[in-house]
């Protein structure tokens, strides 16, 4: 039987059932050698890639032939998580507990001052137990506000500035994410202030609640966003209605319970799935999606099971023993992307090329039906290990990766094809309804907006009323570009093109995405 090559981002030598086979030893060695000799990777990046290669030599957790076929054909994708997941993909530790009680394992005492608190947090990040990068670094204003008055205001700003600098320099990635709000605080305002000054790419979300976030704090955040493309504006009331107050935003814009985690992210390529239903959207909704749903959740369950039962991640783990994470709050993501292409597959015809997502009522309605149907499919296919989300996989809108060539991230309208501002919002808002595990819409404004941040707040509030869960706000001419869910600096794009090593691991990913999707640099700016 002819050897079938796995689609990217699988590594060339991977084999789902057998792991590394004799005939793949040569490409495996070549892969390792290429990594060792790479000039555009720094040591840490080489080490991480070598570890991934080692894991890639193992077989994948057992799954059915049908599920394997969907992975091999690229309909489902495990995003380079690797054959043998030996840790969860994301976790959201209860850092407050470390600050209040200290940590025996980390040999930290309860924090007494702002110095203690920031030192303890930086220490905890170092030992983050998922993937080497602390993709969630805390609801920082809540965490640090009790200590902010232990030093003078001037010292507080200096400490927070040093802390924020170290967060970036020690954890150089656009997937490192902190949360602020919804209440205003000295710490929140100071962090926005130093973030604006330092211009790092550490990700940031403001959990915005019109009832509890003072306008002044919101306007400060908007001014920042128009300068440095962050923070995200999260519809806190909508999220709290699904999650309660104890949820966090991690990595790109991923929601999960505080003290919880996400075992794995298995994503569904909606474009490829739509093609399986020929030209019949009803068949897609009634047959294809339910059928895929079984295999999709099967893959998710197989990977969660590996972490729980095979590597027994929850045992002998200080994060569990010290009550910083709770197994009962863990879940897994079922992610979707390429909604625009799936819809257009069914609605665009030679006679009606304009009947596309974002520009046609029937197309938009189909998008809403697809996202709703997927919610139903996930409800119909429980995954017992997803205790943190009532035994169902958590629905997530996935932002895409470098190797995606012909798909649009998540449920977005393709960059450069966005309709008029309100229409854009009203197109994507219905797709946010069920996707409570993370989703966002990107809006970019022209430079006039900086003179009237209150006007941007009006649009944010209108978007939230329409059902948008999360907005990325930015300026068309900013140095900071929202690639898909994380940020990249234009200077890093240029450096990557010149094949220079980059401090930010995410910058290399982002550069690849931009090369394949140059329109992300040409989103339609909203002239105001």
């Amino acid at each position: 039987m002819e050897k079938r090559r796995l689609p990217e981002p699988f590594m060339e030598f991977e084999d789902l059932r057998q792991g590394l086979t004799a005939e793949m030893v040569t490409p495996f060695k070549q892969h390792v050698s290429d990594l060792l000799h790479a000039h555009d990777l720094i040591y840490e990046q080489k080490r991480d890639a070598l570890a991934a290669a080692a894991v890639g030599s193992l077989p994948y957790p057992p799954i059915s032939a049908a599920a394997r076929e969907l992975l091999q054909s690229g309909v489902l994708c495990v995003l380079g998580e690797g054959a043998a997941p030996y840790h969860p993909r994301y976790v959201a530790p209860d850092y407050a507990r470390i600050l209040h009680e200290g940590s025996p394992f980390l040999e930290l005492k309860p924090a007494q001052t702002l110095f203690d608190a920031t030192t303890s947090l930086l220490t905890a990040y170092k030992y983050f137990p998922a993937g080497g990068l602390p993709v969630f670094i805390g609801r920082l204003d809540e965490l640090l506000e009790p200590y902010i008055d232990t030093v003078s205001p001037e010292t507080a700003r200096q400490v927070l500035k040093s802390f924020w600098l170290l967060v970036d320099r020690l954890n150089p990635s656009g997937f490192v994410h902190a949360d602020l709000g919804p209440a205003a605080s000295k710490t929140g305002a100071l962090l926005l202030d130093v973030d604006r000054e330092l211009g790092t790419i550490t990700n940031l979300t403001l959990r915005y609640d019109p009832q509890h976030t003072p306008q002044e704090f919101a306007l400060q955040a908007i001014s920042n966003a128009l300068g440095v493309t962050k923070p995200y504006f999260l519809n806190h009331p909508a999220m709290a209605a699904d999650w309660g107050e104890d949820y966090v935003i991690a990595s790109c814009y991923n929601a999960l319970p505080l003290k919880g985690g996400i075992y794995t992210l298995v994503r569904l390529n909606l474009k490829r799935a739509a093609e399986m239903a020929d030209d019949d959207p009803e068949r897609f909704l009634d047959e294809t999606l339910p059928e895929i749903g079984k295999n999709w959740t099967e893959v998710i369950a197989s990977r969660a099971r590996y972490i729980i039962e095979d590597v027994r991640w929850f045992e002998d783990n200080f994060w569990i023993e010290e009550g910083l994470l709770d197994k009962h709050k863990f879940s897994a993501y079922a992610g979707v992307f390429g909604l625009a292409e799936a819809v257009n597959h069914f609605t665009r015809t030679d006679a009606h090329p304009e009947a596309s997502y974002g520009h046609d009522k029937a197309a938009n309605r189909l998008a809403e039906r697809i996202t709703t149907r997927i919610h139903e499919v996930l409800e119909d296919n429980p995954v017992a290990s997803c205790e943190g989300t009532d035994g169902k996989a958590c629905y997530h809108a996935q932002v895409g990766i470098t190797s995606d060539l012909d798909t649009t991230p998540a449920t977005r309208v393709p960059s450069g094809e966005e309709p008029e501002l309100y229409e854009h919002i009203l197109t994507e808002a219905p797709t946010h309804k069920w996707i409570n595990g993370g989703i966002s819409t990107i809006l970019e404004f022209d430079q006039t907006a900086a003179q009237n941040p209150a006007a941007v707040l009006d649009i944010i509030q209108g978007a939230f009323k329409a059902g948008i869960r999360n907005l990325s706000i930015g300026s068309a001419n900013s140095e900071f570009v929202r690639v898909t869910g994380y940020l990249i600096r234009r200077a890093d794009l240029e450096a990557h093109k010149a094949e220079k090593a980059l401090r930010y691991s995410s910058a290399a990913l982002g550069s690849g995405v931009m090369e394949n999707h140059p329109n992300h640099l040409h989103r339609i700016p909203r002239k105001v």
């Binding site: 003179q451 009237n452 209150a454 941007v456 209108g462």
Partner: protein, 282 residues
């Protein structure tokens, strides 16, 4: 039914520069000024349905009716050939609205905006219509209402709409009487009366002035303007808008745009004359 009709040139469903927050802006047709630098002269005159533009429209989007031109928006490319053809430089591309119909259109975007601004042209030429429209806005929403006016109509023109009007933005074209008349074709007196009227009502949201070479761009010009405003109320917010030749017609298309440095000088000058809140456009 005797609802007055409003003649509208166009509607912007978002604007960040026509009052507080994000606003819908309704540009009314018709103006009583003839500013030398007017950037939208097609909003000045009313179409008299002479029909000349019907022949020149390359899209055949215009049709001559008994006493008006019918405009097929769906096929119009907005090439402006009709405006170029018009002996009055007017536009057949306008819409007549009842107050209810206009509110119906605006109400759809209500969740995204703070308020509604009417501009022009010169909205004070259609005050009866606006009074009813503003009343509908205030009775049916929490949106704010703003009129962007040249003030020439005088205080009495605004009294009917006053209960439903939150704010006025007054365009003070020039504070020197003779130069004002030269620049706009109309005297200054009633403009200042309107300004004082709105200020006394607590509804003067902002005075704005385009910085135009030879009329408003000298330090002396700005001192006169700022002292005038400060004499009414030092809290009056003054916004200076940079003249731009792009879009201007006639000799003004050759005028120079003030530099950043000069705009900053004028801002400082105005502040030096006692105005507390002075800003400028980009």
């Amino acid at each position: 039914m005797n609802d007055p009709l409003g003649l509208v040139n166009h509607i912007l469903n978002k604007s960040f520069v026509d009052g507080p927050g994000n606003r819908a802006v309704i540009f009314m047709q018709g103006c009583n000024f003839r500013c030398l630098y007017c950037h939208n002269p097609y909003t000045i005159q009313y179409c008299n349905a002479c029909g000349l533009c019907v022949e020149t429209c390359p899209q055949h989007a215009l049709t001559l009716g008994k006493d008006k031109i019918f405009w097929n928006e769906d096929i119009c490319l907005e090439c402006d050939e009709c405006i170029r053809t018009c002996p009055s430089s007017s536009s057949p591309r306008t819409h007549s609205y009842t107050p209810e119909a206009l509110w119906e259109q605006i109400s759809h975007i209500g969740p995204f905006i703070t308020g509604v601004s009417v501009s022009g042209g010169e909205p004070s030429l259609q005050v009866a219509f606006l009074a009813q429209f503003f009343q509908l806005v205030k009775e049916n929403s929490t949106l704010t209402t703003l009129i962007e006016t040249n003030g020439f109509a005088g205080p009495q023109a605004y009294t009917a709409m006053l209960p439903w009007l939150d704010m006025a933005m007054l365009d003070l074209k020039c504070s020197h009487p003779r130069k004002h008349e030269k620049l706009t074709g109309q005297p200054l007196d009633s403009v200042l009366e309107s300004m004082r009227f709105f200020a006394a009502q607590g509804k003067l949201q902002q005075v704005q002035q385009v910085i135009v070479p030879g009329f408003t761009d000298s330090v002396e010009d700005m001192q006169r303007t700022a002292k005038l405003l400060a004499g009414v109320d030092p809290e009056i917010r003054l916004r200076l808008l940079r003249f731009r030749p792009h879009g201007a017609n006639g000799p003004s298309a050759e005028w120079q745009s003030p530099t950043d440095e000069h705009m900053d000088t004028l801002v400082e000058t105005a502040r030096g004359c006692g105005l507390k809140e002075v800003e400028r456009s980009l």
